[in-house]
Every structure is written in C-alpha cells, then in structure tokens.
C-alpha cells in the first residue's frame, strides 16, 4: 500500500489559507470519492470539501479552529500500490471482447 | 576568479618546453595543410594561431589522473599531452574516425566531429571521479560556435548542480566557419554565461601561453580540490581557414586578418624567452628544426600506414556482435573483400 496526500486547494481566487470547522471523517475510515471530508471556512465562504478519491483515511491535519495554508497537507489516504504514475491511468485487465469470428479452415496438407 | 592561491610562476625549463611543444604543433599543423594540397590526406582542420591556447591548456593535464575531451581541432592539446601524433593524424587521413591512438591510455578522448558532442561526456566522466573518490579533472574543449549548442548549456548546468570537477576550456577563435563571434554569441561572452550556472569563469588572452597555463592551473586546482567546475574563455584567433576546403576570402579580408589576429602566439613566446633570458636564439632555432623533423617523421609514418582492412568495419560495432552483423561480415568477405 502507498500513501497519497491531498493538499488544501485554493478554494477561491488567490486565497492563502482556510480554517478547519469540522472533520466529517476520521482516520481508519474508508471513504468514497466525493464523500464529504471536512468543512472549512475561508475569508469568502464556508465550504464542504468532497473527497478527491476513494481510499482509507490515514491522517487528517488541523483540529477545528486551526488554520491550514493552501498547498499544505489536509488529509492522507492509503491507496493501493497499483495507482498510476504521475500521468495516465492504470489500464484494467478486462475480459477480451470480440466481434470477429474466424471462419477459414486451414488446409492441413 | 577562482579562490585558490596562484600557482608558482612558470620556470625557465617549463617555458622552453612550452615553446618546443608550440613549435612542434605549428610545424605539424602547417605541414598537414601542405599534405592536403599534395593529395596525401583528404582534409584537415588547422589550428594555426591557437597554439598558445591549446598547448598551454593541454600542458596542465596530469595524464595519471585527468582526461581531456577534444573536438576535431585540438592538435596542440594532443601534442602537449603526448598523444601518438601518427595515430592522431590518422583521422585526417580518413583511416579511422576517432583516430588510431589509444584514447583510454592517452587520456585523450577520440576525435569528436559532433560540435559540442563531448562536453557532456566530460561532465559525466568528472562526476564519475567524484563518485569513485578520485581527484581527476575532466578538461572539456569547445569553441565559440559550439557554445550555441544546447548540449553546452545542459553540460554547464549539470556541472554546476553536481559541482563536477570539470574545466570547460572555450577557445573563442573569432569564427565559426564564416560566422563571426558577434553574430554567434549573444552578449558577446561565453565566460559571462558561466555565472548563470554558478560556475566560476575567467577570460584570458588565449595567445599568451603563460596566461593560459596559469589560468588552467588555477582552474585545475579549484576543480581538483572540490571547488566545482570552472570555465576559461581563451580569446584567440583562427588564422587559417575552418578546414582545407574552406575559403575565408568569401567572408573576411586579409586586412581583417592582419588587424584581428594580434601577435602570433609563437613569436610572442619567442620574444618573451629572449627578453627574460630563459632561452637564446640558438635554442629557438634548434626547437624549430626539431619541430620540422618531427613533422617530417609523422608524415613518413602516416604514409606508411596502409588502408584499413574492411573487416574492421564490423569488428568494433559491439563488444558482443550480433548474429546479423556476423553474417553481414561473412557475406562481405565472400562477395567483396578486396584487401
């Protein structure tokens, strides 16, 4: 298994930090993509951050009331080792699909 | 300027040796142009006028631990480093591209025809010294024209990042075939670029062999002691054509040459020797006649080198030749071996 860190994104245009209001998940919990992770407040608004991916939560950063800077780690997931590299996706080994059938009979001379 | 202390001044015997080497280089270089005119070799890239830059820098190399990476115009460096000159000239006789000297044993890489091709090799070799815990220094040669190549920038950046023990020795001879330095080097100075890579550099009068030796010694001392890379830009002048098939009359006049070439580096050293009493006229004459004899001997031995056997085409492609190559060699033997 590998660790994958999710940093706090810039939630507005040029914001530099946000305040943690409430964590909606906790370490050890298995989360799905888009599951709400945390509620944070910026100088512009309070927003709920959806999980960027599925995985097990390893660590969270920032207790309620704490400020987290944009780009700093917010949450760390445990993900399977077969996550792709820096670009691209992991191809799935799918059951082969066909439309063509072989009809020729090879001569056996 | 490098932060190391200045090396001791050149001694009289060293100055005389430099004169002998420069005279030998001049004689062989001049002879090679004549050989081409006589049909003895198909082509040559003369270094006329660059004897001080080449001999002065090559003179500093310690063959027990250093390694030089030349271009195709480094006759004086080769001569100063004691490379077998018949093997060196073999490349100009079209016998073998890299020359017939042993580059590993000579500490002088094979003649390199790709402009800027070997500059990165010097950095890699130099970093290898760091990894192995050795104190060898790589000496990389390139010119004002090659300084336009991307590989030179990559090499300087890698060397700066790795603090590799490499000395970049730039011979700015004013001309890249027909294009003058002012239309080649933006900003006018290759040495100035070194600062951008965190590399110490200095510009020297490349026609003053004493200045070249001293600058190269300072650079070697810094690189050898872990001080990182150094760049030397030796300002000199290509007094001859780019090669024996070039016609400088199409892009510069004799008047330009007289004005820009400055004092002949060989003559300059001769005057200095006489002025300081390090040598007398008899020594100069003896050195010049030894140089002429030297060139004549190279010519005799080079002429004696017959054509290379065709099988050599196949022999050095791999250490472990492929089956396909072996069968091509076998077919060649049957169908067209003529030596």
């Amino acid at each position: 298994m590998a660790e994958l860190s999710f940093p706090l994104p810039d939630l507005g245009e040029g914001l530099i930090e946000a305040t943690v209001l409430e964590w909606l998940v906790e370490p050890g919990e298995q989360v799905e993509r888009n599951q709400p992770l945390v509620e944070v407040e910026t100088t512009k608004s309070a927003v709920e951050l959806p999980s960027p991916q599925a995985g097990k939560v390893l660590r969270t950063y920032g207790v309620p009331g704490a400020k987290v800077s944009v780009g700093e780690p917010l949450i760390v997931f445990e993900v399977a080792d077969d996550a792709a590299g820096i670009v691209g996706t992991v191809p799935r080994d799918e059951a082969p699909k066909r439309r063509v059938r072989l009809t020729a009979v090879p001569d056996e001379d | 300027m490098p932060a190391t202390t200045d090396p001791p001044a050149l001694t009289a015997p060293e100055l005389r040796e430099l004169y002998r080497l420069m005279a030998a280089t001049r004689a062989l270089d001049t002879a090679a142009v004549a050989w081409q005119r006589q049909g003895a070799i198909p082509g040559f890239a003369p270094q006329l006028g660059q004897e001080a830059a080449q001999v002065g820098s090559g003179f500093v190399v310690d063959r027990r631990r250093d390694f030089a990476f030349p271009t195709y115009r480094e006759l004086g460096v080769a001569r100063a480093m004691g490379v077998d000159m018949v093997g060196y000239m073999a490349t100009h006789k079209a016998l073998w591209h890299g020359g017939l000297y042993d580059p590993a044993q000579s500490r002088f890489a094979p003649v390199q025809a790709v402009v800027a091709g070997s500059v990165l090799h010097a950095v890699g070799w130099a970093h290898g010294q760091t990894l192995a815990g050795h104190d060898g220094v790589a000496l990389s040669y390139f010119g004002d024209g090659a300084s336009s190549q991307g590989d030179v920038h990559e090499a300087m950046n890698f060397a700066g990042v790795l603090r590799a023990p490499v000395v970049f020795f730039v011979q700015n001879n004013g001309w890249a075939i027909s294009v003058p330095t002012e239309r080649q080097v933006a900003g006018g100075s290759v040495a100035a670029r070194a600062a951008g890579y965190g590399i110490v550099s200095e510009r020297v009068d490349g026609n003053d062999v004493v200045a070249v030796v001293e600058a190269t010694r300072r650079a070697f001392a810094q690189a050898r002691s872990g001080g990182g890379p150094v760049l030397i830009e030796a300002m000199t002048y290509r007094r001859g054509p780019h090669s024996t098939s070039d016609d400088p009359g199409r892009y510069r006049s004799l008047e330009d040459e007289r004005r820009d070439a400055g004092t002949d580096p060989l003559e300059r050293l001769a005057q200095q020797l006489l002025r300081t009493g390090a040598a007398d006229q008899a020594f100069l004459e003896e050195a010049r006649s030894a140089a002429a004899a030297d060139a004549e001997q190279v010519r005799t031995k080079l002429a004696a080198l017959g054509p290379r056997p065709g099988r050599e085409m196949f022999e050095f492609v791999y250490q472990e030749p492929t089956g396909a190559l072996k069968s091509q060699a076998a077919a060649w033997r049957v169908e067209s071996e003529h030596v």
Binding site: R99, P106 | A104, L120, H121, V123, G128, D151, E312
Partner: protein, 348 residues
C-alpha cells in the same frame, strides 16, 4: 578506467540466494532487478529525472536511493540529452550507468547523444571505450496519458548501429531481461511496456543464463498461425489466441523480446511450423519493425509460407489522445482479421 575502484569490472557483491517464485507486478519486478543489479555490481549507477527521492514517476526506482545512497541513485536536472551525454562520460570512467528517460517521447531530445555517441563510441574508440549503458524507457501507449507519453521507438533505435533493443512482456521477463541487459558491455535500449507495469505475474529470481535471456520465446504454442509481438502486445495476442481456439484455430504466440538483434532463427522455426505469420505492433505501419520481421520471415520461409506475412499495427498518424487510443492500438478484432486473411489466402 582500470584504477577506478568503484568501477572495477568484477562483480564483487554476491547475488542474493534465489528466492521462491513470487507474484510481482512488472513495476515491482523491475524494482527488484535494479536492486539486485545495484547490490551485485558496484559499478552500477541509476540516474534520471525524479529517480531518487520520488522513486520515479512509475515508482520503478522506489526505495533504491534510500537503500543504495544518493551517490549511486541520483536525480539529474531535467534534460534528456544531458542524462545520456553524462552517461557516456560515466561509462568512459568505468561505470555501468542505468539512465532512465521518463517517457518514450522524451527520448527524442537525447537522440543525438544516443545515436551519435552511445551507439558509436565503442566503434570510434576501436573497442577501448565500451558503452555498458542500459537506457530504461517507459514505452508504448495504453494509459491515456498526454501527448508524447505513448510512443513506440523500437524501429528508430533498432535502425541505429551499435545499439541493442529489448522489450519485456511479463514481470518474469522484465526481471531477467533487465538483469541480463545491465550486465552487457554494449548499450541496450530497454523498452518497458508502461501499460503492463501493474499486471502481476510469477517472478523467479536467480539468474537463468544467456540461453534463457537471449532470442525470442514461444509464449503459447499453436500450429495454424504465428502471432509475432513484443512488449504490451504479447498479452493482447495471448487473448486473441484464446479466442481463436474457440473457433478451432491454434495460434502460436512468439514473444520476440529482443528487437535488435532480431531472433531470425526463432522466427523461422515458428513460421516453418505454422506456415503463416501475423506481426503485431503499436508503432505506425510504414517502416515499422513489422517490415523487418516480414522480410526475415520471407527470406527464410518463402517456400513454406502459405500467405504473405500480415502486419497489424498502429496507423501512420501521430499517437492519438487517450480517447482515440483504443482505435489506434491493434485491438482484438483487427488482429483476428489479420489471422483470417492469412488463413483464407490461396495462391494464384
């Protein structure tokens, strides 16, 4: 050089005791191979972009810097010509460099050094400056990556005198071929099929010897037609063979492995058995390696061939974006069509 202690030609480290075969992904198998190379060959060094702290963009060098140190596994500035040119100098200093170019398309900036220097230094120096360089290139398509991340360069490199080219198809092949390549005194372009990095397979450590590492490999025996492939296309051809069996056609799959030198005898032996050949590759058709394969088969098997050699390949287009990737890479149906054509063919 002979006095370079770290680069002594002898391999002073003992090879690890062969472990029981285990299930590894190709990425893990390559990582293990690199670790075993570094452990047994004191002259081996790994260099490239992000190969150190990060462990490579595909994690093939993961953990190697921690285990072997930042001197032997090091990050370089972002310049491919620099990486390969530097490898030449390291080889001249007695090292056995294992450079990585991050993606196939980024080998192009290094072509000058690969072709004019790495491929020629042994020749130019008359054998006195060999180039024991193994260049690892994550290769071919199939992962929906950006432009320049899905190229197939085998024909380009196979055309260059002085180079050797190899591409593994399974974790087992990846481990052994990388170890074999790294022990060679000649430069080897090692093309890793990046779409297969994560597929697992059984890997035996312990060396299998040149006989096991050289030439081609029959990945599946069959008697009616030979499918010739390498890299990621081997797995696809095995799928095709399975489907063809449902139709009563027994397909032999030949994994070429070495793209230079090509195993002409292995090719001929297979096609003499099956009398029909279809070569499959991801690279564009024109002047692709399939043409060389077809020529070798025709030269050796003209009398026994029942049909012209078929080529099922990528198209003569720039490698397309991810959405069109499946249209470009030979798919199962296109390969089946190719088989159908050689089976149907009748002379005159």
């Amino acid at each position: 050089m002979s006095e370079t202690t770290i680069a002594a030609p002898g391999r002073t480290g003992a090879d690890p005791e062969p472990a029981a075969p285990r299930q590894l992904s190709m990425q893990q198998a390559l990582n293990l191979a690199l670790a075993d190379i570094l452990a047994t060959d004191p002259a081996a060094v790994v260099l490239g972009e992000d190969v150190g702290t990060l462990g490579g963009v595909f994690r093939v060098t993961d953990g190697l810097q921690g285990r072997f140190g930042a001197a032997r596994v090091f990050d370089t500035p972002l310049a491919e010509s620099g990486i390969l040119g530097m490898s030449v100098g390291l080889a001249m200093a007695g090292f056995h460099p294992l450079p990585e170019v991050q993606f196939d398309g980024f080998a192009y900036p290094a072509v000058n050094q690969i072709v004019c220097q790495i491929g020629r230094m042994n020749y130019r120096s008359r054998g006195t400056l060999p180039m024991p360089i193994t260049l690892r290139v994550p290769s071919f398509g199939g992962i929906r990556a950006p432009e320049h991340h899905g190229e197939s360069l085998e024909a380009l490199f196979a055309h260059v005198p002085g180079l050797k080219v190899v591409s593994p198809s399974t974790p087992e092949e990846a481990y052994h071929l990388l170890r074999y390549a790294a022990a060679r005194p000649d430069p080897v372009i090692f093309m890793e099929p990046k779409s297969r990095y994560w597929q697992k397979g059984e890997v035996s450590t312990g060396r299998r010897g040149a006989d096991g590492d050289l030439g081609s490999r029959v990945a599946r025996p069959g008697k009616h037609v030979t499918l010739i492939a390498w890299g990621a296309m081997v797995a696809r051809c095995l799928q095709v063979a399975e489907l063809a069996a449902e139709d009563g056609i027994e397909v032999e799959v030949l994994d070429l492995r070495w793209l230079k030198p090509l195993d002409a005898e292995g090719l001929a032996a297979s096609v003499r058995r099956t009398r029909r050949a279809v070569v499959v590759h991801e690279a564009p058709l024109t002047s692709g390696l399939g043409a060389e394969v077809a020529a070798l088969v025709t030269e050796r098997c003209f009398d026994t061939l029942r049909a012209p050699v078929e080529r099922v390949t990528g198209f003569d287009v720039p490698y397309p974006s991810g959405d069109l990737e499946d249209e470009y890479i030979p798919n199962i149906d296109r390969i089946l069509f190719g088989i159908q054509r050689v089976l149907e063919y009748r002379r005159g």
